[in-house]
């Protein structure tokens, strides 16, 4: 299958290794990955912060860029949440029937990375080896909007050598929340501390998730505290074939 990659603006800029890992995994499974260069952002940051007018052209751009894709892979459940929860609403409010039709046509072809693998491609074992103790953080969007359920867990269970440990109160928000992390930095920090304590209590080597936004936040706290616990997007684990990179 030809899979168009929407890597997400923050992955593009801060976590290129995630995009690389996604590409490696999909190619290993025999698919062709393309990367339309016109892509920028999904519009969530603006929309969620209340900049609704400013978000519209960003949304249009995404739809325009990907509208003819066979499938779109997005290694960010928060971006996919934005699309599923708000794109139709935004298109309806624009009174542009063509735009609305395009959104409706495109939405079913958009998948978060782990749900693409399991739900659309029907694969749980992607041939990965990662012999480490790993804890999975269930990001709010993946749980409450995408209802991913145990899809990421099934992928992790199929990784050779991986020891999966459960974080207590796994579904409690890490405190990132987009611009919340700076607008309400103190509370965000307190929520992070609570989450961090839960993670540290099960002594993983690595914390993983389907969102680098959460992981960036967790890294921020863990690294500041001098912890040796690493944060890795699930794609990096699934791309690993022995060796701890």
């Amino acid at each position: 299958m030809r899979i168009a990659l929407f890597v997400a603006c923050y992955n593009d800029t801060l976590f290129p290794e995630t995009g690389i890992a996604v590409t490696q995994v999909l190619e290993r499974l025999g698919h062709t990955v393309t990367f339309p260069m016109e892509q920028t952002c999904c519009g969530q940051m603006h929309y969620n912060t209340g900049f609704h007018r400013e978000a519209v052209p960003i949304v249009r751009r995404f739809v325009q860029t990907f509208r003819d894709a066979e499938a779109v892979c997005v290694p960010s459940s928060s971006c996919v949440s934005m699309m599923r929860e708000h794109y139709e609403m935004i298109a309806e409010a624009s009174n542009d029937a063509a735009f609305l039709a395009e959104v409706r046509s495109l939405l079913p072809r958009i998948h978060e990375f782990s749900e693409l693998l399991v739900n659309r491609l029907g694969v749980e074992d992607v041939g990965a080896t990662f012999a480490h103790r790993v804890a999975y953080h269930a990001s709010c969007h993946s749980v409450r909007v995408l209802h991913l359920g145990d899809v990421p867990i099934r992928l992790l269970r199929a990784v050779r050598g991986l020891e999966l440990v459960e974080i207590p109160d796994r579904e409690q928000c890490c405190g990132f929340g987009g611009t919340f992390a700076v607008k309400n930095a103190d509370v965000s920090g307190a929520m992070l501390k609570a989450k961090q304590a839960n993670i540290v209590s099960v002594a993983p080597e690595v914390v993983t998730a389907v969102d680098n936004s959460c992981l960036m936040h967790l890294y921020g706290g863990l690294h500041r505290a001098g912890s040796a616990i690493r944060t890795l997007h699930i794609a990096s684990i699934l791309a690993a074939q022995g060796g701890a990179r």
């Binding site: 393309t34 912060t49 309400n184 890294y219």
Partner: protein, 481 residues
């Protein structure tokens, strides 16, 4: 018009108030403990109910239907309540509600009243108004008493003294009830409250209550409670005055079967709360001889116009969203600066205030969605929060200072960058160049302005030299669809 929502007009912004709350270790410990306990109890009781989701859906639809025809139901209620011997009053705002209450109390020659928990009376600030008119209100809910005797403010809509532990309550009671021998055993504290209030229940002639539900079909009013002080206040006095927000209306008696299953499990994690009292007008030979209902607007009608905003009024004040909220868990209720705190407070308070106050509350959320999951009437709180953020931004952009704020400038800049490939890639390059000022090794330190909020608590890896698209280009990969 004087719409008033508690003390929101003077409340500090949430980030400021939260910072203060975060330093209060005892408060946070109390809040952590209490919310953890109720959340777990709720989960147990909800798991017992195979038709929970159906109940939620019905509750949502009943509320939506009621609000969509609110005028009709209010008129029906008024007719039936009046026919049963009650008197219905209408109050446009807080001042009017208080004036009506005071006028009634004076009419009946009272200089003190016993009150059963009603957040609505806190919303309109009834107690200060009563004091100013020479009338003494006696709160009778254990928690409200703890708050009143402790010269404090409520911090939770169901368990207002949740921020106090048993030792603090003991100290308050010892001092104000003059009972130096009291221990912190909860049973003893409860018994002390019982003794303290008994005489008042039997003596005071005028009672003031709120209502959880008002039933249009019968003209009845329902009070949901645990301790029995509600029953005392609505049964023993000669005169009963009930203040109820217009959104508390439900169409029929039968509808109680939905709400009385959802509310106790959501609020306190019980299958049923100890007492519910339902009465219709005046009952000959049983209870008060005079009954007055004050139907309160105080900003509610403004929310009816937009379907999304109207949903805020579905709320049945169970408090489940507070208990589920990871932000509330860290700060407690006072930080919200409103009688309505937590997730529901973050949407109700600013809207009642026409976005004049509580403007920082829609941002007091990480949008995690836990509140929506537990809301028994399925209010899509995260969606309404985003909607209200939109209103705040729109209002801010009408002012010069709003346009020049860091956030607005950053957002405008980002929007421009996201608008074209060339500008986006230029912005990425600019970021990599600009970060060298703050870079130490592979880390960014002490970022300026708003971004400093990040680095105060968290480390941040520097932007990598090669972005993903750089890698893609460098490896000559496919860019068509």
């Amino acid at each position: 018009m004087s719409i008033r929502v508690g003390k929101t007009a003077k409340a500090p912004e949430f980030p400021v108030a939260a910072k203060c709350a975060l330093q209060n270790e005892q408060l946070r410990k109390n809040v952590h403990h209490a919310t953890d306990v109720i959340r777990n109890k709720r989960a147990l009781r909800v798991a017992e109910m195979p038709d929970w989701e159906h109940l939620r859906q019905s509750a949502h639809e009943i509320k939506e239907q009621t609000l969509a025809h609110l005028d009709r139901y209010l008129i029906e209620f008024e007719r039936n309540c009046t026919a049963a011997g009650g008197t219905v009053h209408w109050a446009r705002d807080a001042d009017e509600a208080n004036a009506i209450a005071i006028s009634l109390i004076q009419q009946y020659g009272g200089d003190e009243v016993i009150k059963v928990k009603t957040m609505t009376s806190d919303e309109v600030q009834m107690n200060p108004a009563l004091h100013a008119a020479g009338i003494t209100p006696h709160e009778t809910d254990l928690a409200d008493m703890i708050v009143q005797l402790g010269d404090d403010e409520p911090s939770h809509i169901v368990v207002p003294a949740l921020h106090r532990n048993r030792f603090e309550i003991r100290d308050i009671f010892r001092k104000k009830m003059h009972r130096a021998e009291l221990t912190e055993q909860p049973e003893e504290l409860a018994a002390a409250a019982r003794r303290y209030l008994r005489d008042r229940f039997l003596r005071v002639k005028i009672g003031v209550s709120g209502a959880n539900f008002a039933i249009a079909e019968t003209g009845s009013v329902c009070v949901v409670e645990s301790e029995g002080n509600g029953r005392m206040c609505v049964t023993l006095p000669e005169v009963l005055i009930t203040l109820v927000g217009i959104e508390k209306m439900i169409p029929s008696f039968q509808d109680l079967e939905v709400f009385l299953q959802l509310l106790p499990r959501s609020a306190t994690g019980e299958r049923m709360n100890p007492y519910n009292s339902l009465w219709t007008g005046v009952h000959a030979g049983d209870g008060p001889r005079a009954f007055h209902v004050i139907l309160l607007d105080n900003g509610r009608t403004k929310l009816l116009q937009s379907k999304m905003e109207r949903e805020t009024l579905d709320c049945i004040r169970c408090g489940a969203c507070l208990n589920a909220c990871p932000v509330y868990r860290e700060t407690g209720g006072h930080a919200y600066g409103s009688i309505y705190s937590g997730p529901i407070g973050a949407i109700l308070s600013p809207q009642l205030n026409s976005m004049q106050h509580s403007r920082s509350l829609p941002y007091a959320s990480s949008l995690c969605g836990a509140c929506y999951e537990v809301c028994p009437v399925k209010i899509n709180i995260p969606e309404i929060l985003i909607h209200l953020r939109g209103r705040v931004v729109q209002d801010d952009q009408k002012t010069l200072s709003g346009n020049l704020s860091q956030m607005n400038l950053a957002m405008q800049g980002a929007a421009i960058a996201f608008g074209s490939r060339r500008r986006y890639e230029a912005a990425q390059r600019l970021g990599r160049m600009g970060q060298t000022l703050f870079q130490r090794g592979d880390q960014l330190r002490h970022l300026p302005g708003m971004a400093g909020g990040w680095t105060r608590f968290r480390d941040l890896r520097a932007l990598p030299k090669q972005s993903f698209r750089d890698w893609w280009k460098a490896n000559s990969r496919e860019t068509g669809l």
